[in-house]
Amino acid sequence: MATNAYVPHAAGYVDNEGPKIVSSRFVHDDAFLLERSLATGGYEGLKKALTMAPVEVHDIVRDAVLLGRGGAGFPAGIKWGFCPPGKWPMYLVVNGDESEPGTYKDRLLMEMDPHQLIEGCLIACYALGLSQCFLYVRGEMALAQERIAHALNEAYEANLVGKNILGTDFSVDVVLHWGAGAYIVGEETALIESLEGERGMPRLKPPFFPAAIGLYGQPTIVNNVETLSNLPWIMVNGADEYKKYGSETSPGTRLFAISGHVKRPGVYEAEQGTTTFRDLIYGDNFCQGMKGDDELKMFIPGGASAPWFFPEQVDLPLEARPVGAAGSMLGSGAIVIMDESTDAVKACLRVVRFFARESCGKCTPCREGTTWEETLLRRIYDGHGRPGDLEMLLDIADNISPGPYPGAAWEEQGVEAIPFPPKQTTICPLGPSSVAPITSALRRFRDEFEAKIPQRTSIPVSAS
């Protein structure tokens, strides 16, 4: 299992039973080369799109109900329709800044099958009349950058990108751009700021979303890597075929990364809606159960920003709506499993520390609040907590996200689920996300926190 050698490509993908839409080429070690891509149906979706009018391509994507895979789960076809008509030029920005803790899928797609992503970008550009595409790859992913650069060089050479693509009147440049280490840049307006060469701080929205005023003030579509990687398959097979997988409101498949205390952690392509968390954790086709057959204590269903779920929620389907109603989110398909041995305070501290480190500092409640959350949790964990610290922690959390914070039901205690999303006093959801681990852990495991706070009734005085 373990390997001392440098891993040449992304490991972790498990080729299990089931439909394969975006990961079909992952079984080939050379899937990143144009030759392999063309031999396995690469760029057929683009060719088919080019025989249609752009608006027809847009219609197919809208009909397929392709939900955004970045976290918010908004239908791509509808997002595309928000561009104001007649305002040119328009841009495509591809969000490849994957850094949500627990998330591991876009890196696979970029390292293993960059041509599929490029083809997806081209289909989007064709459908909407976008003049230029920027592929924003996370700075730390050196291999993904190299593979995409190589793929783009091959594609330019083969006349698949650039001027008069495949001899038609369709011309678009795809430019590789890379970040430099900032989680917040995954937020779409911060991504645009970063692409303009600025500090990656989110812009205030509404009223203006990137589709209206984005890169250089022009209409801009920001889509996730996985969202775009679905487009070639949808073009070749059609919207009806796509809707045969998954459920009615969440069709198709998704890449789920299941990490933590399971027997076979990995990235799995699974149907949305029809698969449940139980299938993923315990199913033979997926993770094959808990590590050491221990009891499940809690799990994060959609990346560090998602409120935690507990054993009662394992039968929920992998679908945005029911998960949202149950008090969390499916987010970026990142599921972190924690068994009985996990220290809830420690896990909570680690996730909060992440948000404190990654806060961009634009909004006061987040900049100051996340730092205080970390300070308080740190001293509680270190055994220096003071009486009233837990109340102060919740008070700070309430300043970032006022009102009852979303969370799972706890039937035993008569606690009802509070549906997603949370309220926020900040521009972007980073600050409110830092509250998710705190309220989740405190509601459920308050005794663990209290046990760490020293309880003294009097100051001990030594006798001699």
């Binding site: 001392n4 040119w88 803790p101």
Partner: protein, 235 residues
């Protein structure tokens, strides 16, 4: 060593030419500066400011926001150990402690010989392969303490020189767009019209508009007929 070398200057111009506005090239150029010197020097930032026609203050403003840019010399090999949630559950913190003890530095520090810098890093997107670490942004998955020792000695002996370049080098393969293949990059204010292929929509949109108009006309007719029928009925 500070401003871009002639080769890198040529590369810098090529990178700038791919963006509709020059300032967009600031981050890629900061990477180029870091690649040249191992860290981003003040002189490199001044040069970038000249090339992208912004002030040096704006360049340093952007530079200091991003974790990967080092404004002081760091080790030849920067080791990022992920200690975020998935790695923490599978021994990421122990891995970091082991490295700190082995190299006798705390995270954030550099060894006296300038070989290694250790960083306590956030999620590296290899969560299922925990614990994981990167050496100069090249991955090591599911790595044990013993294996880390092996990696360190392999780096020292130069065995991994082919797979792990020195700090600063991110892309050994770069994007190059042959001149004749470029679709054309223009500042946004110079683009007024829709891209040519969007004209393909016209017949379809016209047909759809006609169909809609016909439908509306039919509906209007029906409504008139119904009113007439009602009126007749009333009479």
């Amino acid at each position: 060593m500070a401003r871009f070398t002639p080769d890198n200057l040529e590369l810098a111009h090529e990178i700038i030419s791919r963006y509709p506005r020059k300032k967009s090239a600031v981050i890629p150029l900061l990477h180029l500066g870091q690649e040249q010197d191992g860290y981003v020097t003040n002189e490199a930032m001044e040069h970038i400011a000249e090339l992208t026609e912004v002030t040096a203050a704006e360049v340093i403003g952007t530079c200091t926001f991003y974790e990967m840019f080092k404004t002081h010399p760091v080790g030849k090999y920067v080791i990022n150990v992920c200690t975020n949630i998935s790695c923490q559950l599978n021994g990421g913190e122990e891995l970091l402690e082991h490295l700190e003890e082995t190299l006798d530095i705390r995270s954030g520090g550099t060894t006296a010989d300038g070989m290694f810098t250790i960083e306590d890093y956030e999620c590296l997107a290899a969560c299922t392969e925990a614990p994981c670490m990167q050496v100069n942004y090249r991955y090591f998955h599911r790595i044990s303490n013993d294996e880390v020792d092996g990696v360190l000695s392999d780096i020292r002996s130069g065995k991994l020189a082919d797979t792990i370049p020195e700090h600063g080098v991110l892309q050994r393969v770069r994007q190059t767009i042959p001149a004749g293949k470029l679709a054309g990059i223009a500042p946004p204010e110079t683009v007024v019209d829709a891209p040519v292929w969007m004209a393909r929509n016209e017949p379809i949109l016209a047909a759809r508009a006609a169909a809609k108009a016909a439908e509306e006309a039919a509906a209007a007719n029906k409504a008139t007929e119904a009113t007439e029928a009602n009126e007749k009925g009333d009479a």
